[in-house]
Symmetry: C2
DNA sequence: CGACGGCTTGAGGCGCTTCAAGTGCGGTGG
DNA sequence: CCACCGCACTTGAAGCGCCTCAAGCCGTCG
């Protein structure tokens, strides 16, 4: 489990007009704003680092994780574009952040956060959505079986399905299928779902055997029948 | 698992000068603020209810929980005085709230939240602290053994110990012990820690047998040697 | 081609759950 | 005052699901 060095200081260019919410909030102060790109598997910060900067993810996927001293890892959040992270209640980051894909992030000095009410609102909205996701994830980690965890994980990657606003199988006669990209290794999925890599692999194999999914590529899964997978999440 | 009816409409009195942060924030609008008391085991709202009001806990302890359709329950948060809850990213509450002790809560209309910047800051601070707690809890649920979970739970009830700012055993020669009140049944603890009631009971019995704790009353545990219990949390 | 890394598969073991009694304690009533 | 009841908790025995350890497989790259 060797993690890549933080690939920082890469291209501290000027803000692009279409990029961050940070920009939309009207904060364009030279020293506080630095949109930057980082390759896959860059560590943006480590748990315990001084929490001086706040991040907004403009493009790509980032995971937040925590380590126990004996090496056990728990991935606590998977963040998509639009998420704000790196905000801490204390002086230091409470978890580490690593990019799962190439990413584009904007950062902001922690102190300048409080200057903009519209930015405050945006941050609050992000935090609330993260809170709900973490509540759901607590249910997954505390109460679901391995099969339910993997099914829930896969359903999370299908937009507009599985939640309250589930649109159901599309009207079109025919299959209710969809291909999703994981952006994560089996080990990362295991550490997110509170399982071992072997269990994740076994469950995925079983779903394949049952005809619920097809493995197009290692990190590209075709869900053959979305409704059937959704039924296995424990939420129906 | 029968849950008590929501004992609402009890005493919608006027605000007391020493009570909520909501008040300190300068929001004293008659229709938006209603400090109220509720007995132990009152359900303040249910998952799925329209999220019209935001709560602040002035006194007592509240738990937030979610249920799966087959009855499995996960307690997702335990909240102490000062916490804000009932804020939702969507239209409805994402979990249910029940008092573990008699409580005093202030409520605020959801819409009036955005009017006060100082209140915004207070809410953000609360959300951040809840986020960190949920991160820690994800590690507990995903990666810790039963013994580690119970030890972590007990240490959470000891102020100033176990965290970064742990003061260590007090200088005073003698025992490093402390009595804590759980405010929860074994079933509630189990549903919080992602275990069964039997496992929680067995682990507590084993800790008692090892001389780590004494059971004063059912919900009152004396931690005989705090450092030794802390050592079992998996975080050292 | 061979080496490497990520993934899969198998066999066995352990930790927690399940199911089923048993215990202890506070409250009620004879 | 004590017998009885109910409820929460404890304890035991058996089973199962996931973990551990160990090979084996497969695609990629030098």
């Amino acid at each position: 489990m060797a993690y890549v060095d933080r690939g920082f200081n890469s291209g501290g260019g000027r803000i692009s007009p279409t990029s961050a919410e940070f920009a939309r909030a009207g904060i364009q102060n030279d020293c506080t704003l630095r949109p930057a790109r980082h390759p896959q598997h860059s560590v943006l910060f480590y748990e315990g680092d001084k929490a001086e900067r706040v991040y907004e993810l403009d493009e790509g996927v980032v995971m937040l994780f925590k380590l126990l001293p004996d090496g056990r890892r728990q991935v606590v959040e998977i963040l998509n574009a639009g998420s704000v992270f790196g905000l801490s209640a204390g002086e230091v980051y409470d978890c580490s952040a690593e990019s799962l894909t190439p990413v584009k992030v904007s950062t902001l000095d922690r102190n300048s956060l409080e200057t903009s009410p519209s930015l405050q609102r945006h941050v609050t909205r992000c935090l609330l959505s993260q809170l709900e996701t973490l509540h759901d994830h607590a249910v997954l980690l505390g109460r679901k079986s391995a099969m339910e965890r993997v099914s829930t994980f896969l359903m999370r990657l299908v937009p507009n399905r599985g939640g309250f606003g589930c649109v159901g199988p599309t009207e079109e006669a025919g299959e209710d299928s969809r291909s999703v990209t994981l952006h994560m290794t089996r080990q990362e999925i295991a550490d997110y779902l509170g399982l071992t890599i072997e269990t994740v692999s076994r469950v995925i194999s079983e779903m394949k055997r049952k005809g619920l999914i097809c493995i197009d590529r290692q990190d590209q899964i075709r869900i053959v029948n979305i409704c059937r997978v959704c039924q296995m999440t424990g939420m129906h």
